[in-house]
Symmetry: C2
Subunit: 335 residues, 2 copies
């Protein structure tokens, strides 16, 4: 399990495209209180509109980690970023990366980290050995976001739901299962990087026994209908042993993204399949609502779509970006 | 993908219990033509009744690999075995291990391998990077063994089925997905050791395009009803894109082994769940038969059990150890 040291200084490299800085914007938006500022190389043209601090300045102000908040070409860490990362380590900060390249594969960084006892976190990778899943029922309550596809709002929905529960005075914890989620939460595990035999065990470790009224809001991964990643989804589902599922969906997608031969399933079918699979480790599981990424719908279209779907499925239908997830949080609070 | 060099010299260490030499017996029984002989330390009391050759003798006779055919306490390679392994490497043979300990973690073995250009194979581990699954339909035919639990005959059934197909003049290849299977086949991948994101991609790589009439007989892993390993099972199922499934079952088991809270599913339910899941990557998939591990039934009980089950499920029911798998091979040959 990664345990990251906050607050963060967000490093933007020499980013030119806003879309390449998705991670940095996500961190700014979802854990603003944990972000001290931003830093970039002179060539960068994108800014988060946060205070600018050099690594040395940020460290002096108490920053815990420099977080690489941008995608690099091919996921490879460019050589000319190393100086700034080394400066952060020399100032006593940890460095956090979600790139394919491992920080530990750069001798300069390893040496700098050793000099100051700082840590290198590659959140895309998981070097921890997890035990196999046990299926043992744990105390506390759990909700897992699942999807009709990848990359349509499972993380965003889980974060919004955590916030909505907390705003109602309910003890709730976001449990991160992907790299950006881990950076936001400051802890968690990228389950898709875990050895396949131990995915459900990792999910069990991620959401341990808790107070009876506490909700773990677990970020889902992949989709049961995805030809590449359904195994990850199922292992996470079984290990999470959720009491509640929230199904995430984007009505503009007709097929699995990048897999044109694989249709997005009907929503009632998707619910049935997820509930059936989840019953293995929690017989009481139920789907409590639908979270829609409705960016393809106009303001005029959205209410009709949401009401129609809600009437069909007899479940609350929300879009976290359009009115929030309160309707689903209320179902959880009442259960 | 591991590619092992045959023929093998089977190394038994100082084994005292036949059950600890399960791998060696399996190799003797399933690839006898590839096994040149056995070798053990003086303290060993178990024999495979094969010719005894020292590593140097075996190498001189053309052996390709010394295979560790015994389990060691805790999966750890004992220090006092290293001399024999080093002798094999020094004679130019590769060394193959299914232990938890990695051969490459012993500097003596690494140095010896480098001296002679020999290779160290840890078949329990997978260091290969696989691409994500694509879901693309491949040419050739595929049958996958699936189960109501782990460790009830999926490998054995796949091996027997491969042999039965070949005996009928049909081109068929056993595709190994676990460590003993990899040793028997001389190639394959331990899918439970693959990073979870790439399990279906590894299964795709394991069973590439082939002649239209060729059967890949793929060794299944885990079970969809297993709280720890269902994700591995699903990823393997999707990547294998089987045309046919054979369900393996042991009627003496009432619950998943080691998981007393998890019942073994009804067989028709199990078939339905496997077929439903497999349809994602092959809409034409069907279950073609049931393979029973009937060791708990008497010779008098077995025919009644098999006939009753066959009538209920309308499928051939076989036990590879009691009459063989010909009835299922015939279904494949007719399709």
């Amino acid at each position: 399990m990664h345990q990251l040291r906050k607050p963060y200084l967000l490093f933007l490299g020499d980013v030119q495209l806003k879309s390449d800085a998705k991670t940095a914007f996500g961190l700014r938006d979802w854990c603003r209180d944990d972000v001290m500022g931003e830093w970039a190389l002179p060539a960068a043209t994108v800014s988060l509109d946060l205070p600018r601090h050099s690594p040395a300045q940020a460290a002096a102000m108490g920053a815990g980690s420099l977080v690489i908040g941008v995608a690099a070409v091919g996921g490879v860490l460019p050589e000319h970023w190393l100086g700034e990362l080394e400066a952060a380590l020399d100032a006593g900060m940890d460095v956090v990366s979600g790139l394919h390249s491992r920080l530990a594969s750069f001798p300069r960084l390893v040496a700098a980290a050793q000099r100051r006892g700082a840590r290198l976190h590659d959140v895309r990778h998981s070097d921890q050995v997890f035990p196999a899943g046990t299926g043992r029922k744990r105390s506390g309550k759990r909700v897992l976001t699942v999807g009709t596809d990848c990359a349509l709002g499972k993380k965003y929905t889980a974060l919004a739901l955590t916030r909505a529960l907390q705003e109602q005075g309910c003890a709730a914890t976001f449990r991160a299962t992907g790299q950006t989620g881990v950076m936001i939460a400051g802890s968690g595990v990228a389950v898709d990087a875990v050895i396949s035999d131990f995915v459900s065990g990792a999910a069990e470790a991620l959401s341990p026994d808790n107070d009876a009224a506490h909700w773990d809001v677990i970020e889902g991964q992949g989709a049961l209908f995805h030809p590449a990643y359904a195994g990850v989804t199922l292992g996470l589902l079984h290990g999470s042993q959720p009491d509640a599922l929230v199904l995430c969906h984007d009505p503009s997608r007709k097929t699995i993204e990048g897999y044109p031969g694989f249709p997005i399933p009907d929503l009632q079918h998707a619910i049935n399949r997820y509930v059936e699979a989840a019953r293995l480790t929690n017989a009481a599981v139920r789907c409590v609502g639908i979270s829609i990424n409705s960016s393809s719908l106009s303001d005029a279209q959205w209410p009709d779509y949401a009401h129609g779907l809600s009437a069909d499925l007899k479940l609350p239908v929300v879009d976290p970006m359009r009115g929030g997830v309160r309707a689903i949080a209320n179902v959880l609070l009442a259960s």
